[in-house]
Symmetry: D2
Subunit: 131 residues, 4 copies
């Protein structure tokens, strides 16, 4: 299963090299992941309000081609493995031309907000992701 | 009384126009204000931990000269009026060359974190600012 | 004439006070202004590529109500006065509930990219804005 | 050889989870790397002005412990391998308590600004890094 999100690059997200600042992509991944969860019926805000936090444990980013101001980028987001206490999202970001710009992955951990301790992914979420 | 803070411009804070993004200055003001309070013996973190929040109520920024990547800017911060339930900070940001780059002011409100309602500035803080 | 833009609040744009960081609104204004220009047939990127820069000269922001993570905010953008070498945008930002959250205005200056000097607003743009 | 940089966490860099937003660490790495190069006598700005760009090719971040607002973090930066057309920086970020918070690495590529093509690292820089 793949989820698609489109994001318009903001001026604030560019840098002196006249392209998107590499750190801005971390925020694009956040948006892609949150929209992927929303599409699966699990808005991240509700997850948090129900007492489950999902902090990021690790990130990997590979930059293939630069992205410019005002491009409408397309992000493909995938969850390929059944979540345990961790969930891994894989991403491919495409330029407006369709060329691959960035590949990335993020590992997040399900944490009980009350105790601060790791916990299993909610079953309903695992099912909603078809895993 | 004037407080001086120096900040080195980061690459992340520049934009496609090859200068500091105008929005980055809002963060510089935050740093200047926090260091001004720290110098007066009132670290903002401790204020918050003691149950007093200080959200920003209004901002004004005037841009005189652009600032570039890696400049070591100098910020003069002043509190000219005795704080009530509000406190106004006035700022002048100078380029590394000494030229004036930005003038600004921010109004913040003292809020009781427990009730969410406005409250008077702590007397000790007013005295520490010499007002 | 009023232009409407909707923006979904990102996690990256919140702060420790569990609401949108006040500086993030400056970027929301940028997005609103750029979309307003695009709707008028003058994408900012093309303006820049044609050699006209539009740096921000001043900003005013008044914070009325806090905005939270994941809210779908609505921004009304207006250009009320005929642009000269300056153009003033006025904004009202509304929470997802419909309540007014922020009022703001920004002054920008038309600059000739080649000479770095101020210039008149393009006539076509003035007409496109109906002014 | 290890280079040490200290950075004070800004309010703007925190998020709703009341800790540093994971994306903010990418900017901290940028600061650490730039200060490491400056200490070696190669300010990044001068490198860029001399026509050599150094875009980021890949990033890896592992989050061990959360970092909070106003902490004075310490970043250890190392270049362990002799740069070719690439240079790898390795980082360890420590909390104010001294505990390890984040480990990271970034690969950057030396690019000729005029042609946009990869090139070898300047010999003087390799020597300055003692490699």
């Amino acid at each position: 299963m793949v989820h698609i999100t489109e994001i318009r690059v903001r001026y604030a997200e560019t840098d002196r090299m006249q392209r998107v600042y590499h750190g801005s992509f971390v925020t694009y991944l956040e948006v892609a992941r949150v929209e992927c969860l929303r599409a699966a019926g699990w808005p991240y805000k509700e997850l948090e309000n129900s007492g489950i936090l999902l902090p990021v444990k690790s990130i990997e980013l590979d930059f293939v081609l630069p992205v410019e101001y005002d491009e409408l980028i397309r992000i493909e987001t995938r969850v390929l493995e059944r979540p345990t206490a961790r969930i891994r999202f894989s991403y491919r970001i495409f330029k407006e031309t369709g060329e691959l710009a960035v590949t990335a992955s993020t590992d997040l951990v399900f944490v009980d907000g009350a105790t601060g301790r790791p916990r299993r992914a909610p079953l309903g979420l695992i099912e909603a992701l078809g895993l």
